[in-house]
Symmetry: C2
Subunit: 303 residues, 2 copies
Protein backbone atom coordinates (compact mmCIF):
# COMPACT_ATOMS: atom_id res chain seq x y z
CA UNK A 1 0.00 0.00 0.00
CA UNK A 2 1.26 3.47 -0.81
CA UNK A 3 1.46 6.06 1.93
CA UNK A 4 -1.82 7.96 2.33
CA UNK A 5 -1.69 11.58 1.20
CA UNK A 6 1.69 11.01 -0.39
CA UNK A 7 1.86 14.52 -1.87
CA UNK A 8 1.33 16.12 1.54
CA UNK A 9 4.37 17.02 3.62
CA UNK A 10 4.36 15.87 7.21
CA UNK A 11 2.98 18.67 9.34
CA UNK A 12 -0.05 19.89 11.23
CA UNK A 13 -2.39 19.91 8.24
CA UNK A 14 -1.61 16.37 7.09
CA UNK A 15 -1.80 15.11 10.66
CA UNK A 16 -5.15 16.85 11.25
CA UNK A 17 -6.58 15.18 8.15
CA UNK A 18 -5.34 11.70 9.04
CA UNK A 19 -6.50 12.01 12.67
CA UNK A 20 -9.90 13.24 11.60
CA UNK A 21 -10.42 10.43 9.09
CA UNK A 22 -9.32 7.85 11.66
CA UNK A 23 -11.79 9.19 14.26
CA UNK A 24 -14.65 9.26 11.80
CA UNK A 25 -13.95 5.73 10.61
CA UNK A 26 -14.04 4.58 14.23
CA UNK A 27 -17.07 6.53 15.43
CA UNK A 28 -19.43 7.59 12.66
CA UNK A 29 -21.82 5.41 10.63
CA UNK A 30 -20.91 5.28 6.95
CA UNK A 31 -24.05 7.07 5.75
CA UNK A 32 -23.17 10.16 7.83
CA UNK A 33 -19.65 10.49 6.43
CA UNK A 34 -20.28 13.44 4.15
CA UNK A 35 -17.55 15.79 2.91
CA UNK A 36 -17.96 18.90 0.78
CA UNK A 37 -15.42 20.67 -1.40
CA UNK A 38 -15.44 24.03 -3.06
CA UNK A 39 -14.01 23.71 -6.57
CA UNK A 40 -12.34 26.90 -7.91
CA UNK A 41 -9.19 27.54 -5.90
CA UNK A 42 -9.81 24.50 -3.68
CA UNK A 43 -9.78 21.52 -6.02
CA UNK A 44 -8.34 23.21 -9.08
CA UNK A 45 -6.59 26.43 -10.01
CA UNK A 46 -8.68 29.61 -10.32
CA UNK A 47 -6.01 32.08 -11.45
CA UNK A 48 -5.42 34.23 -13.44
CA UNK A 49 -9.17 33.86 -14.07
CA UNK A 50 -11.54 31.02 -13.16
CA UNK A 51 -11.52 28.32 -15.82
CA UNK A 52 -15.21 28.75 -16.50
CA UNK A 53 -14.76 32.49 -17.03
CA UNK A 54 -12.24 31.71 -19.77
CA UNK A 55 -14.84 29.39 -21.34
CA UNK A 56 -17.47 32.13 -21.24
CA UNK A 57 -15.18 34.90 -22.53
CA UNK A 58 -14.31 32.82 -25.56
CA UNK A 59 -18.00 32.38 -26.23
CA UNK A 60 -18.62 36.13 -25.85
CA UNK A 61 -15.74 36.78 -28.23
CA UNK A 62 -17.27 34.51 -30.84
CA UNK A 63 -20.62 36.28 -30.39
CA UNK A 64 -18.93 39.66 -30.95
CA UNK A 65 -17.12 38.33 -34.00
CA UNK A 66 -20.46 37.36 -35.49
CA UNK A 67 -22.36 40.45 -34.38
CA UNK A 68 -20.34 43.71 -34.57
CA UNK A 69 -23.03 45.58 -32.58
CA UNK A 70 -21.90 43.72 -29.49
CA UNK A 71 -18.34 45.03 -29.74
CA UNK A 72 -19.01 48.25 -27.88
CA UNK A 73 -21.19 46.66 -25.20
CA UNK A 74 -19.80 45.11 -22.02
CA UNK A 75 -18.92 42.38 -21.33
CA UNK A 76 -18.62 41.51 -25.04
CA UNK A 77 -16.29 44.46 -25.59
CA UNK A 78 -13.85 43.31 -22.91
CA UNK A 79 -13.96 39.76 -24.23
CA UNK A 80 -13.52 40.80 -27.85
CA UNK A 81 -10.66 43.23 -27.07
CA UNK A 82 -9.13 40.81 -24.56
CA UNK A 83 -9.36 43.66 -22.06
CA UNK A 84 -8.29 41.75 -18.97
CA UNK A 85 -7.96 45.02 -17.06
CA UNK A 86 -11.73 45.55 -17.25
CA UNK A 87 -12.38 42.03 -16.00
CA UNK A 88 -9.82 42.36 -13.22
CA UNK A 89 -11.45 45.64 -12.17
CA UNK A 90 -14.89 43.99 -12.10
CA UNK A 91 -13.59 41.22 -9.85
CA UNK A 92 -11.77 43.73 -7.62
CA UNK A 93 -14.98 45.76 -7.30
CA UNK A 94 -16.82 42.54 -6.42
CA UNK A 95 -14.37 41.76 -3.61
CA UNK A 96 -14.88 45.33 -2.39
CA UNK A 97 -18.64 44.78 -2.27
CA UNK A 98 -19.62 46.69 -5.42
CA UNK A 99 -21.50 44.45 -7.83
CA UNK A 100 -22.67 46.94 -10.44
CA UNK A 101 -20.30 45.67 -13.14
CA UNK A 102 -20.62 42.11 -11.90
CA UNK A 103 -24.27 42.32 -12.85
CA UNK A 104 -23.29 43.51 -16.31
CA UNK A 105 -20.90 40.60 -16.59
CA UNK A 106 -23.53 38.20 -15.27
CA UNK A 107 -26.06 39.38 -17.85
CA UNK A 108 -23.55 38.64 -20.59
CA UNK A 109 -22.82 35.24 -19.11
CA UNK A 110 -26.52 34.44 -18.96
CA UNK A 111 -27.02 35.52 -22.57
CA UNK A 112 -24.03 33.49 -23.76
CA UNK A 113 -25.82 30.14 -23.63
CA UNK A 114 -29.47 31.18 -23.72
CA UNK A 115 -31.79 28.56 -25.18
CA UNK A 116 -29.34 25.71 -25.65
CA UNK A 117 -30.08 22.30 -24.18
CA UNK A 118 -28.27 21.12 -21.07
CA UNK A 119 -26.76 18.28 -23.09
CA UNK A 120 -25.35 20.69 -25.69
CA UNK A 121 -24.00 22.92 -22.95
CA UNK A 122 -22.24 19.97 -21.32
CA UNK A 123 -20.78 18.89 -24.63
CA UNK A 124 -19.34 22.38 -25.21
CA UNK A 125 -17.99 22.56 -21.65
CA UNK A 126 -16.37 19.18 -21.96
CA UNK A 127 -14.82 19.93 -25.32
CA UNK A 128 -13.40 23.21 -23.99
CA UNK A 129 -11.99 21.54 -20.87
CA UNK A 130 -10.38 18.77 -22.89
CA UNK A 131 -8.70 20.93 -25.47
CA UNK A 132 -7.68 24.12 -23.65
CA UNK A 133 -4.41 24.81 -21.87
CA UNK A 134 -3.93 27.00 -18.83
CA UNK A 135 -2.59 30.41 -19.99
CA UNK A 136 0.52 30.41 -17.78
CA UNK A 137 1.00 27.05 -16.04
CA UNK A 138 2.06 25.11 -19.14
CA UNK A 139 -0.50 22.34 -18.66
CA UNK A 140 -4.02 21.49 -19.86
CA UNK A 141 -6.92 22.75 -17.80
CA UNK A 142 -7.91 19.18 -16.98
CA UNK A 143 -4.50 18.78 -15.33
CA UNK A 144 -4.93 21.89 -13.19
CA UNK A 145 -6.55 19.94 -10.33
CA UNK A 146 -4.38 19.73 -7.21
CA UNK A 147 -2.82 16.29 -6.70
CA UNK A 148 -2.97 16.52 -2.88
CA UNK A 149 -6.70 17.23 -2.98
CA UNK A 150 -7.33 14.32 -5.35
CA UNK A 151 -5.41 12.14 -2.88
CA UNK A 152 -7.58 13.48 -0.09
CA UNK A 153 -10.74 12.63 -2.05
CA UNK A 154 -9.37 9.11 -2.61
CA UNK A 155 -8.46 8.72 1.04
CA UNK A 156 -11.96 9.79 2.07
CA UNK A 157 -13.62 7.44 -0.42
CA UNK A 158 -11.44 4.62 0.90
CA UNK A 159 -12.78 5.37 4.38
CA UNK A 160 -16.44 5.33 3.51
CA UNK A 161 -16.96 9.03 2.92
CA UNK A 162 -19.30 10.42 0.29
CA UNK A 163 -17.80 13.60 -1.13
CA UNK A 164 -19.62 16.36 -2.98
CA UNK A 165 -18.30 19.24 -5.02
CA UNK A 166 -20.02 22.45 -3.89
CA UNK A 167 -18.89 24.93 -6.49
CA UNK A 168 -19.65 28.61 -6.70
CA UNK A 169 -19.20 28.04 -10.44
CA UNK A 170 -21.57 26.27 -12.77
CA UNK A 171 -22.81 22.82 -11.85
CA UNK A 172 -23.28 21.72 -15.45
CA UNK A 173 -19.82 22.98 -16.41
CA UNK A 174 -18.05 20.60 -14.02
CA UNK A 175 -20.27 17.53 -14.27
CA UNK A 176 -18.89 16.14 -17.54
CA UNK A 177 -15.39 15.76 -16.05
CA UNK A 178 -16.00 15.32 -12.29
CA UNK A 179 -15.74 11.52 -12.35
CA UNK A 180 -12.60 11.45 -14.43
CA UNK A 181 -10.76 14.27 -12.63
CA UNK A 182 -11.97 13.84 -9.05
CA UNK A 183 -13.66 10.43 -8.87
CA UNK A 184 -16.90 12.25 -7.99
CA UNK A 185 -19.94 11.20 -10.04
CA UNK A 186 -22.06 13.86 -11.72
CA UNK A 187 -24.96 13.53 -9.29
CA UNK A 188 -22.66 14.67 -6.50
CA UNK A 189 -21.79 17.97 -8.14
CA UNK A 190 -23.59 20.88 -6.50
CA UNK A 191 -23.03 24.31 -8.04
CA UNK A 192 -24.59 27.43 -9.45
CA UNK A 193 -27.02 27.25 -12.31
CA UNK A 194 -29.10 29.38 -14.58
CA UNK A 195 -32.83 28.71 -14.69
CA UNK A 196 -33.60 25.67 -16.81
CA UNK A 197 -36.89 24.67 -18.36
CA UNK A 198 -38.41 21.42 -19.59
CA UNK A 199 -39.88 21.49 -23.10
CA UNK A 200 -41.84 18.35 -23.84
CA UNK A 201 -42.00 16.67 -27.21
CA UNK A 202 -42.72 13.17 -28.49
CA UNK A 203 -39.10 12.02 -28.11
CA UNK A 204 -38.54 12.62 -24.39
CA UNK A 205 -38.42 16.41 -24.45
CA UNK A 206 -35.44 18.64 -23.79
CA UNK A 207 -34.19 20.76 -20.92
CA UNK A 208 -32.98 24.16 -22.08
CA UNK A 209 -31.05 26.93 -20.37
CA UNK A 210 -32.71 30.31 -19.96
CA UNK A 211 -31.04 33.73 -19.72
CA UNK A 212 -32.10 34.06 -16.11
CA UNK A 213 -30.18 33.33 -12.93
CA UNK A 214 -31.55 30.58 -10.70
CA UNK A 215 -29.19 30.77 -7.75
CA UNK A 216 -25.55 31.48 -7.01
CA UNK A 217 -24.09 28.68 -4.92
CA UNK A 218 -21.88 30.91 -2.81
CA UNK A 219 -21.74 32.22 0.75
CA UNK A 220 -24.80 31.32 2.88
CA UNK A 221 -26.37 29.63 -0.14
CA UNK A 222 -23.80 26.82 0.10
CA UNK A 223 -25.18 25.30 3.34
CA UNK A 224 -28.69 25.64 1.90
CA UNK A 225 -27.73 23.75 -1.26
CA UNK A 226 -25.85 21.12 0.73
CA UNK A 227 -28.90 20.49 2.88
CA UNK A 228 -31.22 20.45 -0.13
CA UNK A 229 -29.10 17.92 -1.95
CA UNK A 230 -27.82 15.68 0.82
CA UNK A 231 -30.16 16.21 3.76
CA UNK A 232 -27.09 16.08 5.99
CA UNK A 233 -24.64 18.31 7.75
CA UNK A 234 -21.14 17.52 6.46
CA UNK A 235 -18.29 16.40 8.73
CA UNK A 236 -15.62 17.90 6.49
CA UNK A 237 -15.68 21.09 4.45
CA UNK A 238 -12.81 22.46 2.38
CA UNK A 239 -12.67 25.89 0.81
CA UNK A 240 -10.35 28.75 0.01
CA UNK A 241 -12.32 32.00 -0.03
CA UNK A 242 -14.83 34.24 1.72
CA UNK A 243 -17.60 32.52 -0.23
CA UNK A 244 -16.79 29.31 1.66
CA UNK A 245 -17.10 30.71 5.20
CA UNK A 246 -20.73 29.66 5.66
CA UNK A 247 -20.06 26.15 4.33
CA UNK A 248 -17.08 25.70 6.65
CA UNK A 249 -19.12 27.03 9.57
CA UNK A 250 -21.90 24.58 8.76
CA UNK A 251 -19.57 21.54 9.03
CA UNK A 252 -19.72 21.38 12.80
CA UNK A 253 -21.52 18.92 15.07
CA UNK A 254 -22.02 18.76 18.79
CA UNK A 255 -21.08 15.08 18.95
CA UNK A 256 -19.13 14.21 15.81
CA UNK A 257 -15.57 14.90 14.70
CA UNK A 258 -15.36 17.66 12.15
CA UNK A 259 -12.66 19.19 10.01
CA UNK A 260 -12.61 22.50 8.23
CA UNK A 261 -9.81 23.05 5.73
CA UNK A 262 -8.93 26.44 4.31
CA UNK A 263 -6.45 26.30 1.45
CA UNK A 264 -4.04 29.23 1.44
CA UNK A 265 -2.59 30.26 -1.90
CA UNK A 266 0.92 31.27 -0.90
CA UNK A 267 2.96 29.55 -3.56
CA UNK A 268 3.94 32.01 -6.28
CA UNK A 269 6.49 29.60 -7.59
CA UNK A 270 4.33 26.54 -8.23
CA UNK A 271 0.88 28.14 -8.46
CA UNK A 272 -0.16 31.64 -7.32
CA UNK A 273 0.18 33.81 -4.24
CA UNK A 274 -2.95 35.80 -3.40
CA UNK A 275 -5.30 36.61 -0.55
CA UNK A 276 -7.82 38.84 -2.37
CA UNK A 277 -11.26 37.37 -1.71
CA UNK A 278 -10.00 35.25 1.20
CA UNK A 279 -9.29 37.91 3.84
CA UNK A 280 -12.37 37.25 5.97
CA UNK A 281 -12.00 33.50 5.61
CA UNK A 282 -8.43 33.65 6.92
CA UNK A 283 -9.59 35.72 9.89
CA UNK A 284 -12.41 33.23 10.62
CA UNK A 285 -9.98 30.32 10.33
CA UNK A 286 -7.83 31.87 13.06
CA UNK A 287 -10.79 32.74 15.23
CA UNK A 288 -12.57 29.38 14.92
CA UNK A 289 -9.56 27.10 14.77
CA UNK A 290 -10.01 25.86 11.23
CA UNK A 291 -7.07 24.03 9.68
CA UNK A 292 -5.11 26.17 7.26
CA UNK A 293 -3.45 24.28 4.44
CA UNK A 294 -0.49 26.18 3.06
CA UNK A 295 0.13 25.25 -0.53
CA UNK A 296 3.77 26.21 -0.16
CA UNK A 297 4.48 24.43 3.12
CA UNK A 298 2.02 21.53 3.29
CA UNK A 299 2.16 20.21 -0.22
CA UNK A 300 5.22 18.44 -1.63
CA UNK A 301 3.59 18.39 -5.06
CA UNK A 302 0.91 20.76 -6.34
CA UNK A 303 -0.21 19.19 -9.63
Amino acid sequence: MTRALASWRDGDARRAVLDFVRSVAAEVPVEERVAVFDNDGTLWCEKPIPIQLDFILRRLTRMAETDPALRDRQPWQAAYEQDHAWLAAVLAEHYAGNDRNVRLLAAGILAAYDGITVEDFEEQSERFLRKTRHPTLDREYLRCAYAPMIELLDHLAGNGFTSYIVSGGGRDFVRPISQEVYGIPRERVIGSTVAIEYRPDERGGTIVRRAEADYLDDGPEKPVRIWSRTGRRPLLAAGNSNGDIAMLGFAQHPDRPSLRLLLKHDDAEREFDYVAGAELALTEAGRQGWTIVSMRDDWATVF
Copy 2:
Protein backbone atom coordinates in the same frame (compact mmCIF):
# COMPACT_ATOMS: atom_id res chain seq x y z
CA MET B 1 -34.31 -17.17 -4.03
CA THR B 2 -37.85 -15.85 -3.83
CA ARG B 3 -39.72 -15.03 -7.01
CA ALA B 4 -39.08 -11.45 -8.15
CA LEU B 5 -42.08 -9.13 -7.81
CA ALA B 6 -43.93 -11.77 -5.78
CA SER B 7 -46.91 -9.48 -5.06
CA TRP B 8 -47.45 -8.81 -8.75
CA ARG B 9 -49.85 -11.03 -10.66
CA ASP B 10 -48.59 -12.47 -13.90
CA GLY B 11 -49.67 -10.23 -16.71
CA ASP B 12 -48.54 -7.53 -19.12
CA ALA B 13 -47.40 -5.08 -16.44
CA ARG B 14 -45.25 -7.55 -14.51
CA ARG B 15 -43.80 -8.91 -17.74
CA ALA B 16 -43.00 -5.42 -19.01
CA VAL B 17 -41.12 -4.64 -15.80
CA LEU B 18 -39.11 -7.86 -15.82
CA ASP B 19 -38.25 -7.56 -19.51
CA PHE B 20 -37.18 -3.98 -19.09
CA VAL B 21 -34.92 -4.72 -16.12
CA ARG B 22 -33.37 -7.64 -17.96
CA SER B 23 -32.61 -5.49 -21.02
CA VAL B 24 -31.11 -2.72 -18.93
CA ALA B 25 -28.94 -5.11 -16.96
CA ALA B 26 -27.63 -6.50 -20.25
CA GLU B 27 -27.14 -3.24 -22.13
CA VAL B 28 -26.73 -0.19 -19.90
CA PRO B 29 -23.75 0.77 -17.70
CA VAL B 30 -24.60 0.75 -14.00
CA GLU B 31 -24.15 4.51 -13.52
CA GLU B 32 -26.87 5.24 -16.10
CA ARG B 33 -29.48 3.01 -14.46
CA VAL B 34 -31.60 5.74 -12.93
CA ALA B 35 -35.25 5.29 -11.94
CA VAL B 36 -37.62 7.92 -10.56
CA PHE B 37 -40.80 7.47 -8.56
CA ASP B 38 -43.55 9.84 -7.65
CA ASN B 39 -44.54 9.27 -4.01
CA ASP B 40 -48.19 10.18 -3.20
CA GLY B 41 -50.44 7.71 -4.96
CA THR B 42 -47.49 5.91 -6.57
CA LEU B 43 -45.43 4.56 -3.66
CA TRP B 44 -47.95 5.11 -0.88
CA CYS B 45 -51.63 5.87 -0.47
CA GLU B 46 -52.83 9.47 -1.05
CA LYS B 47 -56.52 9.12 -0.20
CA PRO B 48 -58.77 10.35 1.37
CA ILE B 49 -56.20 13.16 1.67
CA PRO B 50 -52.41 13.09 1.12
CA ILE B 51 -50.61 12.03 4.29
CA GLN B 52 -48.70 15.28 4.49
CA LEU B 53 -51.92 17.28 4.29
CA ASP B 54 -53.18 15.42 7.36
CA PHE B 55 -49.91 16.37 9.11
CA ILE B 56 -50.36 20.03 8.20
CA LEU B 57 -54.06 20.17 9.09
CA ARG B 58 -53.30 18.89 12.58
CA ARG B 59 -50.72 21.62 12.95
CA LEU B 60 -53.19 24.27 11.72
CA THR B 61 -55.74 22.93 14.21
CA ARG B 62 -53.27 23.30 17.07
CA MET B 63 -52.50 26.83 15.93
CA ALA B 64 -56.23 27.68 15.95
CA GLU B 65 -56.61 26.10 19.40
CA THR B 66 -53.90 28.42 20.69
CA ASP B 67 -55.00 31.52 18.78
CA PRO B 68 -58.83 31.94 18.51
CA ALA B 69 -58.41 34.73 15.94
CA LEU B 70 -57.35 32.09 13.41
CA ARG B 71 -60.62 30.19 13.74
CA ASP B 72 -62.52 32.25 11.19
CA ARG B 73 -59.65 32.42 8.70
CA GLN B 74 -59.02 29.79 6.05
CA PRO B 75 -57.39 27.33 6.04
CA TRP B 76 -57.28 27.33 9.85
CA GLN B 77 -61.08 27.39 10.04
CA ALA B 78 -61.46 24.27 7.91
CA ALA B 79 -58.75 22.50 9.90
CA TYR B 80 -60.20 23.52 13.25
CA GLU B 81 -63.78 22.59 12.28
CA GLN B 82 -62.61 19.45 10.46
CA ASP B 83 -64.41 20.82 7.43
CA HIS B 84 -63.32 18.22 4.91
CA ALA B 85 -65.85 19.55 2.42
CA TRP B 86 -63.94 22.83 2.12
CA LEU B 87 -60.68 20.94 1.57
CA ALA B 88 -62.26 18.60 -0.94
CA ALA B 89 -63.67 21.60 -2.80
CA VAL B 90 -60.24 23.25 -2.88
CA LEU B 91 -58.68 20.13 -4.37
CA ALA B 92 -61.54 19.76 -6.86
CA GLU B 93 -61.08 23.39 -7.91
CA HIS B 94 -57.36 22.70 -8.29
CA TYR B 95 -57.98 19.77 -10.62
CA ALA B 96 -60.31 22.04 -12.58
CA GLY B 97 -57.53 24.61 -12.96
CA ASN B 98 -58.72 27.18 -10.41
CA ASP B 99 -56.06 27.77 -7.78
CA ARG B 100 -57.52 30.70 -5.84
CA ASN B 101 -58.26 28.64 -2.75
CA VAL B 102 -55.18 26.49 -3.27
CA ARG B 103 -53.16 29.66 -2.76
CA LEU B 104 -55.04 30.32 0.47
CA LEU B 105 -54.30 26.79 1.59
CA ALA B 106 -50.67 27.12 0.52
CA ALA B 107 -50.27 30.32 2.52
CA GLY B 108 -51.51 28.50 5.61
CA ILE B 109 -49.20 25.59 4.92
CA LEU B 110 -46.27 27.96 4.56
CA ALA B 111 -47.16 29.74 7.80
CA ALA B 112 -47.56 26.46 9.68
CA TYR B 113 -43.84 25.81 10.08
CA ASP B 114 -42.38 29.28 9.58
CA GLY B 115 -39.04 29.81 11.31
CA ILE B 116 -38.42 26.30 12.60
CA THR B 117 -35.18 24.52 11.81
CA VAL B 118 -35.07 21.77 9.20
CA GLU B 119 -34.02 19.34 11.93
CA ASP B 120 -37.05 20.22 14.09
CA PHE B 121 -39.33 19.93 11.09
CA GLU B 122 -37.98 16.47 10.31
CA GLU B 123 -38.41 15.38 13.90
CA GLN B 124 -42.05 16.46 13.88
CA SER B 125 -42.68 14.79 10.51
CA GLU B 126 -41.11 11.58 11.68
CA ARG B 127 -43.01 11.52 14.97
CA PHE B 128 -46.28 12.11 13.12
CA LEU B 129 -45.56 9.38 10.57
CA ARG B 130 -44.62 6.88 13.25
CA LYS B 131 -47.62 7.40 15.49
CA THR B 132 -50.53 8.15 13.16
CA ARG B 133 -52.95 5.70 11.62
CA HIS B 134 -54.64 6.01 8.26
CA PRO B 135 -58.23 7.24 8.81
CA THR B 136 -59.95 4.37 6.97
CA LEU B 137 -57.47 1.63 6.01
CA ASP B 138 -56.93 0.30 9.52
CA ARG B 139 -53.15 0.53 9.37
CA GLU B 140 -50.43 2.96 10.39
CA TYR B 141 -49.37 5.55 7.83
CA LEU B 142 -45.93 4.00 7.69
CA ARG B 143 -47.57 0.78 6.50
CA CYS B 144 -49.48 2.53 3.70
CA ALA B 145 -46.68 2.03 1.19
CA TYR B 146 -47.55 -0.41 -1.59
CA ALA B 147 -45.83 -3.78 -1.21
CA PRO B 148 -45.52 -4.34 -5.01
CA MET B 149 -43.75 -1.00 -5.40
CA ILE B 150 -41.34 -1.77 -2.58
CA GLU B 151 -40.61 -5.08 -4.33
CA LEU B 152 -40.01 -3.18 -7.54
CA LEU B 153 -37.56 -0.83 -5.77
CA ASP B 154 -35.74 -3.87 -4.36
CA HIS B 155 -35.65 -5.57 -7.71
CA LEU B 156 -34.20 -2.46 -9.32
CA ALA B 157 -31.59 -2.06 -6.57
CA GLY B 158 -30.63 -5.69 -7.03
CA ASN B 159 -30.03 -4.94 -10.71
CA GLY B 160 -27.78 -1.95 -10.21
CA PHE B 161 -30.39 0.79 -10.49
CA THR B 162 -30.27 3.98 -8.45
CA SER B 163 -33.81 5.02 -7.57
CA TYR B 164 -34.98 8.46 -6.54
CA ILE B 165 -38.26 9.60 -5.02
CA VAL B 166 -39.55 12.61 -6.97
CA SER B 167 -42.43 13.76 -4.85
CA GLY B 168 -44.82 16.62 -5.46
CA GLY B 169 -45.03 16.69 -1.67
CA GLY B 170 -42.42 17.95 0.73
CA ARG B 171 -38.88 16.66 0.42
CA ASP B 172 -38.09 17.10 4.11
CA PHE B 173 -41.34 15.37 5.13
CA VAL B 174 -40.35 12.09 3.46
CA ARG B 175 -36.62 12.03 4.13
CA PRO B 176 -36.75 10.78 7.74
CA ILE B 177 -38.49 7.54 6.71
CA SER B 178 -37.38 6.97 3.10
CA GLN B 179 -34.61 4.54 3.98
CA GLU B 180 -36.75 2.48 6.32
CA VAL B 181 -39.89 2.37 4.18
CA TYR B 182 -38.42 2.30 0.66
CA GLY B 183 -34.72 1.55 1.04
CA ILE B 184 -34.00 4.94 -0.53
CA PRO B 185 -31.50 7.09 1.38
CA ARG B 186 -32.41 10.66 2.25
CA GLU B 187 -30.09 12.22 -0.34
CA ARG B 188 -32.13 10.52 -3.06
CA VAL B 189 -35.39 12.18 -2.07
CA ILE B 190 -36.35 14.98 -4.45
CA GLY B 191 -39.50 16.92 -3.60
CA SER B 192 -41.09 20.29 -3.04
CA THR B 193 -39.72 22.66 -0.48
CA VAL B 194 -40.31 26.00 1.09
CA ALA B 195 -37.48 28.51 0.96
CA ILE B 196 -34.83 27.73 3.57
CA GLU B 197 -32.15 30.00 4.94
CA TYR B 198 -28.81 29.48 6.67
CA ARG B 199 -28.30 31.39 9.92
CA PRO B 200 -24.71 31.17 11.09
CA ASP B 201 -23.67 31.00 14.71
CA GLU B 202 -20.63 29.73 16.60
CA ARG B 203 -21.97 26.18 16.84
CA GLY B 204 -22.42 25.33 13.17
CA GLY B 205 -25.42 27.50 12.45
CA THR B 206 -28.95 26.40 11.64
CA ILE B 207 -31.08 26.11 8.53
CA VAL B 208 -34.58 27.44 9.07
CA ARG B 209 -37.76 27.26 7.04
CA ARG B 210 -39.29 30.48 5.76
CA ALA B 211 -42.96 31.18 5.00
CA GLU B 212 -42.20 31.44 1.31
CA ALA B 213 -42.51 28.89 -1.46
CA ASP B 214 -39.31 27.83 -3.18
CA TYR B 215 -40.63 25.50 -5.85
CA LEU B 216 -43.35 22.94 -6.34
CA ASP B 217 -41.90 19.70 -7.66
CA ASP B 218 -44.79 18.89 -9.96
CA GLY B 219 -45.55 18.83 -13.68
CA PRO B 220 -42.73 20.21 -15.87
CA GLU B 221 -40.74 21.05 -12.74
CA LYS B 222 -40.14 17.32 -12.13
CA PRO B 223 -37.77 16.80 -15.10
CA VAL B 224 -36.00 20.03 -14.12
CA ARG B 225 -35.44 18.80 -10.57
CA ILE B 226 -34.39 15.36 -11.77
CA TRP B 227 -31.79 16.90 -14.05
CA SER B 228 -30.60 19.29 -11.33
CA ARG B 229 -30.14 16.52 -8.82
CA THR B 230 -28.94 13.61 -10.92
CA GLY B 231 -27.58 15.12 -14.13
CA ARG B 232 -29.18 12.21 -15.95
CA ARG B 233 -32.26 11.27 -17.88
CA PRO B 234 -33.98 8.36 -16.13
CA LEU B 235 -34.66 5.02 -17.79
CA LEU B 236 -37.73 4.31 -15.68
CA ALA B 237 -40.37 6.69 -14.36
CA ALA B 238 -43.43 5.73 -12.33
CA GLY B 239 -46.33 8.00 -11.49
CA ASN B 240 -50.08 8.10 -11.11
CA SER B 241 -51.36 11.57 -11.94
CA ASN B 242 -51.34 14.50 -14.36
CA GLY B 243 -48.45 16.00 -12.36
CA ASP B 244 -46.29 13.06 -13.46
CA ILE B 245 -46.84 13.40 -17.22
CA ALA B 246 -43.71 15.48 -17.82
CA MET B 247 -41.55 13.15 -15.72
CA LEU B 248 -42.82 10.09 -17.60
CA GLY B 249 -42.30 11.86 -20.90
CA PHE B 250 -38.73 12.70 -19.90
CA ALA B 251 -37.81 9.03 -19.29
CA GLN B 252 -37.20 8.27 -22.93
CA HIS B 253 -33.95 7.69 -24.82
CA PRO B 254 -33.13 7.22 -28.46
CA ASP B 255 -30.82 4.27 -27.75
CA ARG B 256 -31.73 2.88 -24.32
CA PRO B 257 -34.60 0.76 -23.03
CA SER B 258 -37.14 2.81 -21.11
CA LEU B 259 -40.22 2.06 -19.07
CA ARG B 260 -42.99 4.40 -18.01
CA LEU B 261 -45.42 3.07 -15.42
CA LEU B 262 -48.73 4.73 -14.66
CA LEU B 263 -50.47 3.32 -11.60
CA LYS B 264 -54.25 3.20 -11.95
CA HIS B 265 -56.29 3.41 -8.77
CA ASP B 266 -59.15 1.08 -9.59
CA ASP B 267 -59.37 -0.98 -6.45
CA ALA B 268 -62.16 0.33 -4.22
CA GLU B 269 -62.03 -2.83 -2.18
CA ARG B 270 -58.39 -2.86 -1.12
CA GLU B 271 -57.49 0.81 -1.60
CA PHE B 272 -59.42 3.49 -3.54
CA ASP B 273 -60.98 3.87 -6.96
CA TYR B 274 -60.48 7.31 -8.52
CA VAL B 275 -59.36 9.03 -11.70
CA ALA B 276 -59.68 12.67 -10.64
CA GLY B 277 -56.33 14.34 -11.31
CA ALA B 278 -55.20 11.48 -13.56
CA GLU B 279 -57.43 11.98 -16.61
CA LEU B 280 -54.77 13.52 -18.85
CA ALA B 281 -52.16 11.05 -17.68
CA LEU B 282 -54.37 8.12 -18.65
CA THR B 283 -54.93 9.64 -22.09
CA GLU B 284 -51.18 10.17 -22.53
CA ALA B 285 -50.48 6.60 -21.42
CA GLY B 286 -52.74 5.31 -24.18
CA ARG B 287 -51.34 7.67 -26.77
CA GLN B 288 -47.66 7.08 -25.97
CA GLY B 289 -47.81 3.42 -25.04
CA TRP B 290 -46.90 3.76 -21.37
CA THR B 291 -47.49 0.71 -19.20
CA ILE B 292 -50.62 1.00 -17.09
CA VAL B 293 -50.48 -0.85 -13.79
CA SER B 294 -53.95 -1.71 -12.53
CA MET B 295 -53.97 -1.98 -8.78
CA ARG B 296 -56.94 -4.31 -8.97
CA ASP B 297 -55.70 -6.60 -11.73
CA ASP B 298 -51.90 -6.46 -11.55
CA TRP B 299 -51.31 -6.66 -7.82
CA ALA B 300 -52.02 -9.79 -5.77
CA THR B 301 -51.30 -7.84 -2.60
CA VAL B 302 -51.56 -4.08 -2.13
CA PHE B 303 -49.98 -3.48 1.29
